[in-house]
């Protein structure tokens, strides 16, 4: 069993957001909860055929002290997530962001039936 890792990465100053992947008949919907992010600074790109990389800049830097944690060092300036898409998709991305919840819609690849 893999050792659990924290959702905060001090080396890269990133925070891993909570994400969801929903597979619909014609599209895949990926959502990410990105509170306190600057919605004008979101980047979504494909790493490979089935991996989506999401980064979003925070409006300000957060430190552990902001959450009354004094024994840890580090500050965080952006969200970062790698999301695996479970079915084949077209590499076309449609983004919306409401209430700082990012929604990414990806059309599924049509499969020719015989």
């Amino acid at each position: 069993m893999a050792f659990e890792r924290p959702s905060w990465r001090t080396r890269s100053s990133t925070i891993e957001p909570l994400t969801n992947v929903i597979v619909e008949m014609e599209e895949v919907i990926v959502t990410a909860d990105i509170p306190c992010a600057d919605v004008s600074k979101i980047r979504v790109s494909f790493v490979d055929e089935k991996t989506l990389e999401i980064t979003a800049q925070l409006k300000r830097k957060f430190r552990f002290q902001d959450f009354n944690i004094s024994h840890r060092r580090g500050e965080f300036s952006r969200y970062h997530a790698m999301v695996t898409i479970p079915v084949p998709i077209e590499k076309r991305i449609a983004l919306t962001c409401e209430k700082n919840i990012l929604e990414i819609r990806l059309p599924r690849k049509s499969i020719v039936s015989t």
């Binding site: 925070i15 891993e16 509170p35 306190c36 209430k99 919840i101």
Partner: protein
């Protein structure tokens, strides 16, 4: 004082818990609605620690506050309001014992009412400006009281988790209980839903708890609650929480 209520859950009282109290449960659930609402109640009403719930079924942890250990599941009080507040995900295998212990303790303390604050996950939550709050009750009289206050009743469906069992055991014991469920995200912390649940609680109990600050700090609360939400989601999956989405069979 230790009340030996079951083999694996103990309730410790360190302060006065009055009789005829109203017990509010703020346990981790969908959207962390109960916990976020509970934390806001605790600070708004300046509640004091009067006890804790301990169990060998809980993770072996303490929550540190200003360098001092606090139980992960605390009992707080303000006047005749008692709040059970958990700062850790409740393990799926602890749900039965914990729910039994809470109801037995409430009976022993001659509590007037238990109100569980929680969420009910809805798929279109992102597009909802004003989440609705649904309620269920342990008995007909309590349910009628909710209807008279124009609170929407959850007529049919399933509730899964500690709130389901608190409601069931309370009904079995004849103890009035209410479950207030605000429409929320399943696995994203939802301070808006928590604020809506508090407004309904105000209506039921005649309180006047302000939610402006809770809403204003919503994004910060969401950011700080990610890890707790993640662990709660793992436990919800173990207790098959998704059964709440199921459509029950039709009664002919």
């Amino acid at each position: 004082m230790v009340l030996g209520l079951s083999h694996s859950v103990s309730i410790f009282e360190r302060g006065l818990v009055p009789e005829d109290a109203i017990i509010i449960a703020g346990l981790p659930d969908v959207g962390l609605v109960g916990v976020i609402a509970g934390l806001h109640l605790a600070s708004s009403l300046q509640m004091e620690d009067v006890g804790s719930i301990e169990s060998d079924l809980f993770p072996p942890l303490v929550s540190l506050h200003n360098g001092l250990p606090k139980a992960a599941v605390r009992i707080l009080r303000s006047g005749n309001l008692i709040l059970i507040l958990s700062e850790t995900a409740i393990p799926a295998n602890a749900v039965y014992k914990l729910s039994q212990a809470i109801v037995q303790w409430a009976m022993k303390k001659k509590a007037k009412l238990i109100i569980s604050l929680g969420g009910i996950a809805v798929e279109d939550r992102i597009s909802l400006k004003n989440p609705r709050v649904f309620a269920t009750a342990s008995d007909e009289k309590t349910l009628q009281g909710l209807k008279e206050k124009s609170i929407q009743v959850l007529d049919r469906g399933y509730i899964v988790g500690p709130y389901a069992l608190i409601l069931k055991y309370a009904a079995m014991e004849g103890l009035p209980a209410i479950t207030l469920l605000a429409e929320s995200f399943f696995n994203y912390p939802d301070p808006e839903a928590a604020a809506t649940a508090i407004l309904e609680l105000n209506k039921i109990l005649g309180l006047n708890i302000d939610v402006k600050e809770l809403l204003a700090r919503g994004e910060e609360i969401r950011l700080a609650s990610r890890d707790f939400m993640n662990r709660t989601q793992m436990e919800m999956e173990r207790m098959r929480k998704s059964q709440e989405y199921d459509v029950p069979p039709i009664h002919v």
